[in-house]
């Protein structure tokens, strides 16, 4: 089943006198269970595509059907509900609420959940929501850090909280924007192995990145240039992030003591 069905997508901006054509006609289809990376240099339109995919922005032209919903007719409130129910966001800068516990951060999408259609207040029971948030955090391996604030967590851990937040409402797909951009090699491997694990369990993931080595962990690479897709092919030699992580850790075993000390101070 197709989760994402885009056809004839164009997005133009008026910047002063100049008309910027960020996306000039784009077709993209993503099936359920896929793990897609979108690559391309700055200015290729991948951020714009990401905004449109995430229902944060509307295309100037074209149709975007998300999990059977035609987004052309949707207004701001419907967009908010789609983001809430269909999309799980993971950002480069983590975008967690500061001074708020990991558990509460993960609970946030459930907070805005509207069961029984738009316009009705979320009726999810508080206890049930907390339970779901706790489970999501356990799934990303942070079951022991429920009450930690983002400032008390490492970058990799913060990103895992963000991933837990993205999954908690059981969305149609996870949309990740440069999720490893702010992470070091070890944390990058941690996060990518988590993504792979989630994907194996059936989650559809679309990830924007400009690092080919990160894209190598996905199943399909879409490359953009000048607002159009220039290549779209499966990953030939798919790497396993969990294995790479083990290898990396073995190699840096002698250094890890030093690193832990540095982290602790």
């Amino acid at each position: 089943m197709a989760i994402i069905e885009m056809s004839g997508i164009k997005r133009h901006y008026q910047v002063g006198e100049v008309l910027v054509r960020a996306i000039r006609g784009l077709e993209l289809s993503v099936e359920s269970g896929e793990f897609v990376s979108v690559m391309g240099p700055s200015g290729s339109g991948k951020s714009t595509l990401m905004n449109i995919l995430g229902c944060l922005d509307k295309p100037t032209e074209g149709s975007y059907v998300l999990d059977g919903i035609d987004t052309r007719a949707a207004g701001p409130d419907e967009f908010a509900d789609i983001r809430n129910q269909k999309i799980g966001f993971v950002f480069q800068g983590f975008n967690l609420l500061a001074r708020t516990s990991a558990l509460e951060n993960v609970e946030l999408p459930l907070f805005y959940r509207r069961e029984g259609g738009p316009g009705r207040g979320g009726r999810g029971r508080k206890g049930e929501q907390l339970e779901r948030a706790r489970k999501a955090l356990e799934e990303v391996g942070l079951g022991g850090r429920l009450d930690h604030k983002p400032s008390q967590l490492s970058g990799g851990q913060q990103q895992r909280v963000a991933i837990a937040r993205a999954m908690v409402a059981d969305p149609a797909f996870i949309l990740a924007d440069e999720p490893t951009g702010n992470l070091d090699s070890e944390m990058t491997l941690e996060v990518m192995s988590l993504f792979q694990e989630l994907n194996e369990r059936g989650k559809t993931i679309v990830m924007v990145t400009h690092e080919p080595e990160v894209a190598a962990y996905t199943k399909r690479v879409v490359t953009m240039r000048d607002g159009a897709i220039v290549s779209d092919r499966p990953v030939a030699e798919r790497r396993r992030a969990a294995e790479d992580l083990r290898a990396w850790q073995a190699e840096h075993a002698s250094l890890s003591g030093v690193k832990d000390e540095a982290r602790a101070s």
């Binding site: 905004n51 995430g54 944060l56 922005d57 701001p76 409130d77 908010a80 509900d81 983001r83 809430n84 129910q85 966001f89 950002f91 975008n95 967690l96 609420l97 500061a98 001074r99 946030l108 999408p109 907070f111 805005y112 959940r113 207040g121 979320g122 937040r165 409402a169």
Partner: protein, 402 residues
């Protein structure tokens, strides 16, 4: 979002910035507090005036010479007599003739004292009307009035000035140039609504006063008590008819007297303090508005500061309305908390004024309710613009905001 969720959310962010929240609501605290205290002081003194006028007597009706530049005073003892004989709603009536006088006394003690005071020429009923009592000796009787006896009953102030600690009953004194005998001393009544000493008085029989002290045919006023409170209007109407007849006034002619009852006197007296109360409350209300502007200011800063948070909330599915309500409820809770703190502070200040400083302050529940509602209204009014600003943010821009 449910109301409970909203309150939790807003309370969390308010308590996250305790110092700032306190400073923000300080404007509301001071505003609400000053409104309540001002109104309390105003109403307290109003209430005091009312109490004191009520203490002037029960079901009091007064007939006075007309106010304004009309024909002069024509109230006579004949009027009093006619009222006493013909009225069915009046239980006690007394003519009152008063004036300033110098009293001299204390010869018995060897030391003469002078005192300027007010004499009241009254009839025995006057004590009933005023609910006044004689502390020692006795009040003069109707026969003293008829005989124009030179007897006097002293207020405690005059008694103290002339006779010190000695018992004045049976002593002699001079009122003006005439010698009088003291037959009684009145119980103390304290100061009046207007602040004058009600015990600074010498009472003599009405006819004695008219013939020997004021030397005029006419009296200052006629005071009386109606039988029952519900007959006040009927009594007033009746008195008017009797007096018009007595003064032979043609139909439609302007009356040469004014009939007023207690509540009319109270109204006249409290009109001034009511105006003052309103004025004070209005000035205090301005500070409440200034407090509201303070809230708006901080909420605007807060919206800018939390742009990223707003973006995050929008990205996980918050609708514009959710964001609007979040910020709106924050400012409402902030101003409500300020309002509650202001109310408590005002209650403390009012109690302190009442108990320690002797300023009468009366905090009425209505004032508390109104100022709490006003504080909430200020929160909504001044919180709306910042909340709208937050809700109108574009999710992409809010997420990218550094």
């Amino acid at each position: 979002m449910t109301a409970a969720k909203l309150v939790t959310l807003s309370a969390r962010s308010i308590f996250r910035n305790k110092m700032r929240s306190l400073l923000t609501s300080l404007g509301i605290i001071i505003g609400v507090c000053s409104v309540i205290v001002m109104v309390a002081v105003g109403q307290g003194s109003q209430e005091q005036v009312k109490r004191q006028i009520a203490a002037m007597g029960t079901n009091l009706i007064m007939v006075m010479p007309p106010r304004g530049p009309q024909q002069g005073n024509r109230l006579t003892t004949a009027d009093v007599k006619k009222i006493r004989e013909e009225s069915s709603y009046i239980s006690a009536v007394s003519g009152v003739s008063r004036g300033s006088v110098t009293v001299v006394g204390g010869e018995g003690a060897g030391e003469e004292a002078n005192w300027s005071t007010t004499f009241y020429g009254v009839e025995p009923d006057y004590l009933l009307i005023k609910q006044w009592e004689v502390a020692s000796g006795e009040f003069f009787a109707d026969k003293d009035n008829a005989a124009r006896s030179k007897v006097a009953v002293l207020g405690t102030t005059v008694a103290a000035k002339l006779f010190g600690s000695e018992d004045p009953v049976g002593q002699r004194l001079r009122i003006g140039s005439q010698p009088f005998t003291v037959v009684g001393v009145l119980a103390s009544k304290g100061s009046s609504a207007m602040g004058d000493d009600q015990d600074d008085v010498v009472m003599v029989p009405l006819d004695t006063a008219i013939n020997r002290l004021s030397r005029g045919r006419y009296m200052g006023s006629i005071e009386m008590s109606a039988v029952k409170e519900e007959y006040m209007d009927a009594a007033q109407a009746e008195i008017t008819t009797i007096l018009r007849e007595a003064h032979r006034l043609a139909e439609g002619a302007t009356a040469d007297f004014d009939v007023m009852n207690q509540s009319q006197i109270i109204e006249t007296a409290s009109a001034t303090s009511k105006t003052l109360t309103t004025l004070l409350a209005a000035i205090a209300g301005v500070s409440l508005v200034v407090g509201g502007i303070g809230i708006m200011n901080i909420m605007l800063v807060s919206v800018t500061e939390r742009t990223r948070e707003i973006g995050i909330r929008m990205s996980v599915g918050a609708r514009r309305r959710d964001i609007l309500l979040q910020f709106l409820s924050e400012s409402v809770i902030l101003s409500l908390l300020g309002g509650v703190a202001g109310i408590l502070l005002a209650l403390a200040i009012a109690a302190a004024l009442d108990k320690l400083a002797g300023v009468p302050a009366l905090v009425q529940p209505g004032v508390i309710a109104v100022s709490a509602a006003f504080a909430a209204a200020v929160g909504i009014f001044f919180g709306f613009y910042p909340a709208r600003k937050a809700a109108d943010l574009y999710p992409i821009d809010a997420l990218r905001y550094e």
